[in-house]
Symmetry: C2
Subunit: 377 residues, 2 copies
């Protein structure tokens, strides 16, 4: 029987770690990138094709799923894994971020966040307890504590108050999770560090989380418009404030060079909509930087999206064909661009893991950046 | 070396025929259903997945492809097969039907049809000669003669004039095809019978086509709103007016019970957007008739779309999941519904071929109709 949750570090290189998380539904190689499966689907991808890109774990969005098809329905249908045909680990977010960015008429209180659905105007509440219940009903493997977000441009006073509330909610999340019946025997719970761009607040938050105790720790509240430099400034100290024996997860990140820099700073897990969303709008990731396949210069370009890419899309289709499909608004264009981008992200993670394992991360990262930015420079 | 075009009839059952068409790019089992790949893609499907449904041949639309990406560009990129990643036969229509249903400001003359593109307003002409040139540039395996269509509700005088013109265009198509360089060594040319619902006009049209001589013959001008009964009335006599040693192709048909009835009347080939288009709007075909997966009664239905279906979608996903995906507007919903529907159509063709081969078509067709219509009765 595999363990509920066991994080093993196999090698380190500077602050970076090569590891695995063993869980009952499978192993997660870290540093890991989690494709986002918002509404019980990684958009435009079959689950077996997502797996074939190298993904060990998906992310599901609590906010979307609680509204449609609802957590209770997913539970009656046997849980999210069975519903969507993915039998490996799933991490669910807490709903905290999206309720504040997508819902209407949100009203925050110490209890939680009341809101109206952006789909049908129905009224809901997410509290720490309700978030734990939803994630349990979904059958999540890695459950995120419910937290409160405020813009990084808020005053320090507002940031501090939101962080303090998030820490009270982290305690309530822990308690509700632990009271959640059989679920904790399989699932893990992660706490989320807040504190915006303030080292002192980050430290206070980390200490509060460590005092409660979690299976892993997320660095939250970043990648919300502060820019890469400000994000890296936080990542220069924030990971070290957390438990070094536990995985560190940078939520919502990011661009390929964000990921490389964050891995160098000790981050083990990532999620982002960028490879899937960009795929649907015609942006392809390559080692030579992103390219927009809609550009007229690709109309008769017989090369694959990336000549050094081993993905099935690059093996079979030309830029000219993808240019045509995307320009014509064909669904196959979204499918193939997404598949390539997810392969690119997983290949990047595999390269990072190899580099850490062989102690060559610094050289890899320099070469990566030089090539990735050469075309735009 | 496979032949350019060889139609073999292996068995007959009443008027129905079981056969194969051998061509250089592969064999086509008849009766055959051709999925429609309008803009160089069967919508929402990878080419290898289309093949896995059992399709031996695709249809490509001359009108769409001449406008985007243009036949000349497809030619420069190595032809339609290479462009879209499909190495088996492709039949292209002549552009005649779609230029009259989709283009703007069409102006018909004895030369051909002048029109403005529905995409960008650019001006074009399709004549028999230009249609042959476009289909040659695309690299089509089965080329359709260019014909003129008028509504089945037109006067007999208008019908007769359109049919006569179509026969003059059939001769010009034959001449232009034969002058088309290396292409005729691999490609076949089909003539199209016109004459609406009039047996005399159909006979005149058939005789004109037989006089010119084609590799196969299409029954054109049907499935345009006349209803199944009127269509079957024509199919009771039209196939016998054509060359019995050549394949007979009923263009744009149809619903499953249309196909069964047409096979009983001697038709060998079909194409229709119904399985793909319906898939994108949430309609699934089953042996118990069509079902609309958006219907609320499927929200928690754990059964597959069809319990007796061997397709990968039915093996893996529930009606409840597909209901969710289609309701949420997810691309995966369009992908999976399309895949199931194409499997359904190919399974129906395989069943029809088996029934003809074993001399049981009449019993098969009766049982098919009884079951297909039972639920709606």
């Amino acid at each position: 029987m595999p363990p509920r949750f066991r994080f093993s570090i196999h090698a380190t290189d500077g602050k970076a770690r090569l590891g695995t998380i063993a869980m009952q539904r499978g192993e997660i190689r870290t540093p890991a990138f989690m494709p986002v499966g918002t509404a019980a689907t990684v958009k435009a991808m079959k689950p077996q094709d997502v797996r074939a890109t190298g993904a060990d774990i998906l992310l599901g969005n609590t906010y979307h799923l609680m509204l449609r098809p609802t957590a209770e329905r997913v539970d009656r249908l046997g849980g999210l894994h069975r519903f969507m045909g993915w039998d490996r680990p799933i991490l669910t977010d807490s709903g905290g971020y999206q309720v504040m960015s997508l819902a209407e008429l949100t009203k925050r209180s110490e209890d939680g966040v009341a809101f109206k659905s952006h789909l049908d105007g129905s009224r809901h509440l997410i509290s720490p307890e309700r978030s734990m219940e939803i994630q349990r009903l979904l059958g999540s493997d890695i459950v995120m504590a419910f937290d409160e977000l405020v813009p990084t441009t808020s005053t320090r006073e507002v940031q501090a108050a939101a962080m303090e509330r998030s820490m009270r909610w982290a305690r309530r999340s822990r308690d509700a999770f632990d009271a959640g019946g059989a679920h904790p025997e399989r699932a893990a719970l992660f706490g989320i560090q807040q504190g915006a761009l303030d080292e002192g607040l980050r430290k206070t938050s980390a200490d509060a989380l460590l005092d409660i105790g979690f299976d892993g720790y997320a660095v939250g509240g970043l990648a919300v418009g502060e820019g890469q430099e400000a994000m890296f400034d936080v990542l220069d100290y924030a990971p070290a404030q957390l438990d070094p024996a536990r995985p560190r997860y940078l939520m919502g990140v990011g661009k390929p060079d964000d990921i490389v820099g964050a891995v160098e700073r000790g981050i083990d897990m990532f999620d982002c909509v960028l490879p899937t969303r960009s795929g649907r709008t015609g942006q392809a990731f390559t080692r030579d930087g992103p390219l927009n396949i809609r550009n007229a210069r690709f109309a008769e370009d017989q090369r694959p999206l990336a000549e050094d890419c081993a993905c099935p899309v690059c093996a079979q289709f030309s830029r000219a064909y993808l240019h045509h499909l995307v320009r014509a608004g064909e669904i196959l264009g979204a499918m193939l661009m997404t598949e390539h981008n997810l392969f690119y992200y997983q290949a990047l993670m595999a390269d990072l893991r190899d580099a850490i394992g062989t102690g060559q991360l610094s050289g890899f990262a320099s070469a990566f950046r030089a090539r990735y930015h050469a075309r735009t420079a």
